[in-house]
């Protein structure tokens, strides 16, 4: 078995990693990839008066986005250490793009057996039981999906 774990920083996606760890300890899983798919939002930023941000502000926004990605990367490497007591090969991937499309593409091109993801991502609505990314991935891929609550 080869598992793809989708991470976006939400609590539910952390539980997806824990679930992957549990399955790895228990089963014949030989390859685990921790994937963080992210979108760069700096280009949608405008100053309050409706004009595009100044080159200076834009560069600040880009730095901020880059810093967030760096933080996620560090977190994934720390989480990845949990898998050291298993026989699985671990890989961390950070890919920029539309998250659901990225996840589906990575999963299908890498011929993964299973995608594990949190039921709800970073979107704010607490009462939504299935997030938009989880929903698009489930609807859009030929690969089995485990939704971790």
């Amino acid at each position: 078995m080869k598992i793809l774990v989708c991470y976006d920083g939400s609590e539910a996606s952390q539980r997806a990693i824990d679930k992957a760890h549990q399955l790895t300890t228990d089963c014949g899983i030989h390859e685990v990839t921790l994937l963080h798919a992210y979108e760069d939002y700096s280009w949608v930023a405008t100053s309050a008066d409706g004009y595009a941000p100044s080159p200076e502000n834009l560069s600040k926004l880009r730095d901020l986005e880059a810093k967030k990605v760096e933080e996620k990367k560090e977190f994934l490497f720390t989480e990845g250490k949990k898998f050291e007591d298993t026989n699985a090969t671990l890989e961390v991937k950070l890919v920029q793009g539309h998250p659901a499309s990225v996840i589906t593409e990575v999963a299908e091109e890498g011929e993964y057996d299973l995608i594990i993801m949190g039921s709800r991502g970073l979107g704010g609505l607490k009462r939504v039981v299935l997030g938009s990314v989880s929903n698009s991935v489930i609807q859009g891929t030929n690969i089995s999906v485990m939704v971790v609550k």
Partner: protein, 148 residues
């Protein structure tokens, strides 16, 4: 780990059992329950708008019963793949609204994972997530694995 596999006879639900077997392979999965939740459909039968005669009703009831029996035999046959594992296997057939039965069994039995096929017996091929899978996914606190 304790797994709940939902079976309705469809191809994806066959694959859900296979997936459970695969996960069980070397395994800390110690308990697997294969559940078939079903609803009988005879009570809304008869094309002319009248209720079926007692005689006809009896026949329909017998037919439904034989179908459930068939599913049970099919499950027992499929479950043989677990023979070479150390897992304790249980087969349940429960009458009721499938999504509600599945949710209830999973939560009351404190299962770690529900494994369900992406599409059930409903006929529409292009629907990528069936109504039961969707209702279970939306309605339970237990993690769900949707097997394609």
């Amino acid at each position: 780990m304790k797994l709940l596999v939902c079976f309705d006879g469809s191809d994806p639900s066959h694959r859900a059992i296979e997936k459970a077997h695969k996960l069980t392979g070397d395994s800390g999965v110690h308990e697997v329950t294969i559940l078939h939740a079903y609803q009988e459909n005879y009570w809304f039968s008869m094309g002319d708008g009248y209720a079926p005669s007692p005689d006809m009703l009896k026949k329909l009831e017998n037919f439904e019963e034989s179908q459930v029996q068939e599913k049970k035999e099919k499950i027992l046959e499929l479950a043989k793949i677990f023979d070479n594992t150390e897992v304790s296997l249980d087969v349940k057939t429960i009458h009721g609204h499938p999504a509600r039965v599945i949710t209830k069994v999973a939560e009351e039995g404190e299962y770690d994972l529900i494994i369900i096929g992406s599409r059930g017996l409903g006929g529409i091929r292009k629907v990528v997530l069936g109504s039961v899978s969707n209702a279970v996914m939306q309605g339970t606190k237990v993690s769900v694995m949707v097997v394609k």
